[in-house]
Amino acid sequence: MAKKINWFKYSSPQTFYPLAGKMIPWFAVAALLFTLPGLYFSFFVAPPDYQQGEAYRIMFIHVPAAWMSMFIYMVMAGYAGMGLVLNSRLSSMMASALAPTGAMFTFLALWTGSLWGKPMWGAWWVWDARLTSELILLFLYIGFMSLYAAIDEPRRAARASAVLALVGVVNIPIIYFSVKWWNTLHQGSSITASKGPTMAASMFIAMMLMAMAFWMYTIAVALMRVRCEILERERHAEWVAEAMRGAK
């Protein structure tokens, strides 16, 4: 008979803490291993664009950053929802560990978009559906973090912010489909499920490498942050005290 694996074992902060610690270096190294060829492809392999010249190279970080801003929100809302339903401490901690990184990628998508928009559209910012819904995403992340920080009791804070995160999920399809639903200044998707990528292979590879680099970075950083959250919240627990005595 196959050995039964107890998956719930790793949902306890005490067992997850050392596991996360072991995983961080692997994801950090993976992030670096994707970044180096990613930058090489972005600047030296991908040819200049026939319309935009060299300016389009902003795309290799702009698009992955925008993807991450949406993916991280979905994962964060998933963890927050899990915390709400199962009342598991670790899920809520994972949700709050992801929020700052998600907010950062949302800011970077807006920042790089602004620097790309100025030379191409002649404006740093326009109130177009894609840009506005992405800005709302940034406010959702900030709202989630502020609400969590504003309530002293951790379980109540987790429940209240989880509800906010789940309601905010409605914004994700709005961002994604905004370029189809409305007539936007922002260009449509360069990669669609039906047509595949509509760009040179080297550009596509550069973008995918940078997206993988951002993913690996996000996992490494979220694990670092969740370890801090675990230590802060469980500082009075016996296992933390024991681990501290062992560390000396």
């Binding site: 010249g53 060299e54 790089t112 950083v221 670092m224 801090c228 501290m244 560390a247």
Partner: protein, 62 residues
């Protein structure tokens, strides 16, 4: 392609390097802040556990 041409990015240098530079800065600062947070946290917890273990020792001795 020489170095100054590379940095000029066909006249779009400010926009391209402004994007890549700020992105790199954000990622590095986030990691640095997290490392500092963990270091101060461990120092605080280390002090706490030292205090409790001396208290225990005193209790045993007295």
């Amino acid at each position: 392609m020489n170095l100054s041409e590379f940095f000029a990015m066909g006249g779009y240098g400010f926009y391209v390097w402004g994007s890549y530079g700020v992105t790199a800065l954000c990622l590095i600062v986030e990691v640095a802040l997290l490392m500092r947070r963990k270091r101060t946290l461990l120092q605080r917890l280390g002090r706490m556990s030292r205090v409790t273990s001396t208290e225990v020792k005193n209790e045993i001795q007295t």
